[in-house]
């Protein structure tokens, strides 16, 4: 298999291209996805390759984009609507919650929605207001949806292809902080990475650190730094936040007895709470210390002059891990 060295955003594009080549029912739609190739260039060149009926520049209307994609998917197409920033998904929220998540259930499987809603999410790029939030739990809380967040170029393409082939609607959130931060080997052919499976990014024995998306890198950096202090942290990238790979959480926790959750989304009701509940329910007797959550604060995401204070930093993650290990 030929390999290419791609960034995450290039891997998104490659995943779209690969599936559009393979399956004529797959189409991309959204604001500026066509001639402009997407504001982050995630759809670059696709309009030239596949034309106006499969790479569709829409009017500026997220409810329209998501709602019409629901209609297309119900008719058997595989639309991949893009919302330019996750902060602009809310006009389409009614469509996501009232329809996208429920079509299968409501019709007892007569209609299904094989669609993927893509959006870049998260902070750290000195973006304007409403461009930096991490609201993935809005969608994780909604049964009937799958919510995927990759953190490497390889996973991005493989998970995106899985999402497109999945018979159910998938929300695919892309960590824009690391869209171009590094490159990784990505096969040219099609391949899949399964939805709902976490990945162990660093093996360790003292503490399990659960994270995903753009926080994976600072978490790994913290783990490496702490190795010099004699703390051996295991780092697990959840990759899918719904359905959550509870088996991976429990397995790692049984080994270490200590857990830290790291995410940029707010602490209240964040994935850390779900991870904490999982170890309580499944592995209480293995527990050696309280579970620590290193997360965004429960305040509105600040404009960028203060965003570094809001996002979990390497030092904050290290301190959280130390606190848990030294309990």
């Amino acid at each position: 298999m030929t390999e290419q060295n791609l960034t995450i955003v290039q891997a998104v594009r490659d995943g779209l291209y690969t599936e559009m080549q393979r399956d004529d029912d797959v189409l991309v739609m959204g604001e500026d996805v066509g001639k402009n190739g997407g504001v982050f260039r995630a759809t670059e060149g696709l309009w030239d390759e596949f034309g106006d009926n499969r790479v569709i520049d829409t009017p500026l209307a997220e409810s329209g984009i998501i709602g019409t994609a629901v209609g297309m998917a119900a008719m058997g197409l595989k639309p991949i609507p893009e919302v330019q920033f996750s902060g602009f998904m809310y006009p389409g929220y009614d469509q996501i919650i009232s329809h996208m998540s429920r079509f299968r259930t409501r019709t007892r499987g007569r209609y299904t929605l094989p669609m993927v809603l893509r959006a870049p999410y998260g902070g750290g790029i000195r973006a304007p207001e409403s461009h930096s939030e991490s609201k993935e739990m809005f969608y994780a809380h909604e049964a009937g949806l799958k919510v995927v967040i990759p953190s490497t170029p390889y996973d991005t393409k493989g998970l995106l292809i899985s999402a497109i082939r999945d018979p159910d609607p998938v929300i695919f959130l892309e960590p824009k902080l690391i869209y171009r931060a590094f490159r990784g080997d990505v096969p040219e052919d099609d391949y899949t990475v399964p939805i709902g499976e976490a990945a162990v990014r660093r093996e360790g024995t003292d503490v399990s650190v659960f994270t995903y998306g753009a926080m994976t890198r600072p978490t790994l950096e913290a783990a490496e730094n702490l190795a010099e202090e004699g703390i051996d942290a295991e780092v697990i990238d959840m990759r899918t936040i719904s359905p959550l790979d509870r088996e991976a959480i429990v397995e790692s926790f049984k080994k270490t007895g200590r857990a830290v959750a790291v995410h940029e989304a707010p602490k209240n009701g964040g994935l850390g709470a779900e991870i904490t509940a999982t170890v309580q329910e499944e592995a209480l007797l293995y527990q050696e210390a309280p579970v620590k959550r290193v997360a965004g604060y429960d305040v509105p995401y600040p404009l960028y002059a203060l965003e570094d204070y809001y996002l979990p930093s390497v030092a904050r993650v290290e301190e959280g891990i130390r606190e848990t290990v030294n309990f």
Binding site: N36, S63, P128, H131, K267, P302, L306, Y309, A315
Partner: protein, 368 residues
């Protein structure tokens, strides 16, 4: 007959591209006309400097307004002091007229919330980033004035051509029609919603004609003709505040214009539009148009133009100095303004933050 009484497909004009008079010059005193010109020059120079600050890494992403000064200044000058303005994110020129110092506009785009704290007495809502989301607020604000029997004031809402595709546009204008609120909805149709042209937003021939379906008035104006914009806005504001028996209060104004530059500094318009088109619209530049008119009518001369140019440069340079001298906000501000009183949870997180900050200092947080 009011300037508003015409088909929404007509376009109101006062000055042609060369600055010659082709319509009724509105009744504006000489001083105000020259002030309009000065504001337009100021907005243009500010815009050029802001783009270059972004390029130099001294400011974050910034949405330029060049080409749109005629619409922004012409409309904002028509507002009375106690009228209200509900802007989108590109209205730095209009906000300036309404009393928002340039320093604050810079601070906002430099990532300081303080930029959004409008000075006392400046009746401006914070700019709305999500497209069209401010339109229902403007209707609500106008409705509030009416409910409190203060409809001798009006609320002006700014938005772009792309916004007319959003549900909030429909809902905001529909409420305005139903409750007959004292509103002016000012659509800056600059032809492009990032890369998507106006023709792809709607199959309607004009945006102004959308007003018809809400039972309100719609009018199209040459948005690069500041005098025409002033005339139309003034008439719409008058009607909002003092409607005749057969008149509705709200008006949708479509100001036809062009954004000379990128959507934001993160955008590259050469990918999606031709130089030829840009040049065609640059011939309509509102600034030389008004300058020609003012010179030919004896309101401006070389000396006054030079003086304006010098004062504009100084004012922008001072604003940049002031904004760049502003220290980074204290991180405590993140926690202080979320609620009137910190909730116990926020307080606990604030304490945890303070302990970490004390232990690690800024180095524990700030990235390269």
């Amino acid at each position: 007959m009011s300037v508003l009484q015409r088909d929404p497909q007509d376009q109101v004009r006062v000055l042609d591209e060369d600055g010659s008079v082709v319509g009724d010059v509105p009744d504006i005193d000489d001083e105000t006309m020259v002030e309009m010109y000065r504001y337009m020059r100021l907005a243009r120079h500010f815009d050029t400097r802001a783009v270059s600050l972004q390029r130099q890494g001294r400011m974050g992403t910034y949405p330029p307004l060049s080409g749109q000064e005629g619409a922004q200044i012409g409309s904002a000058v028509a507002l009375a002091e106690d009228d209200w303005m509900v802007p989108s994110y590109r209205e730095h020129g209009a906000a300036l007229v309404r009393g928002l110092p340039l320093k604050q506009t810079l601070l906002y785009w430099m990532g300081h919330e303080k930029g959004n704290k409008m000075p006392e007495g400046a009746n401006i809502f914070p700019p709305a980033v999500p497209i069209a989301s401010q339109i229902p607020h403007a209707t609500g604000a106008g409705w509030a004035l009416k409910l409190r029997e203060e409809a001798d004031k009006a609320v002006m809402c700014y938005f772009g051509d792309g916004a007319t595709s959003e549900g909030d546009f429909h809902e905001g204008l529909n409420f305005a029609g139903v409750f007959d609120t004292p509103n002016v909805f000012f659509c800056n149709n600059n032809q492009w919603a990032i890369s998507v042209p106006r023709e792809r937003q709607t199959a309607s021939e004009t945006l102004a004609e959308k007003a018809v379906a809400y039972g309100i008035d719609g009018i199209q104006v040459d948005g690069m003709d500041p005098l025409a914009v002033y005339a139309v806005t003034q008439a719409a504001l008058d009607k909002a505040k003092n409607p005749q028996e057969d008149e509705c209060r709200p008006t949708l104004i479509e100001a036809v214009q062009y954004r000379f530059g990128a959507h934001t500094t993160a955008d590259d318009p050469t990918v999606y539009r031709d130089d030829e088109e840009v040049e065609k619209w640059k011939a309509k530049d509102p600034i030389p148009r008004l300058e020609t008119f003012l010179r030919e009518t004896g309101r401006l001369d070389d000396e006054s133009v030079d003086a304006i140019e010098a004062s504009v440069k100084e004012q922008v340079a001072d604003a940049i100095d002031a904004a760049e001298s502003e220290p980074r906000p204290d991180p405590s501000e993140m926690f202080e303004y979320a609620y009137a009183e910190m909730t116990p949870e926020v307080e606990a997180q604030y304490e945890e933050f303070q302990a970490l900050h004390e232990k690690f200092g800024d180095e524990g947080f700030l990235r390269e």
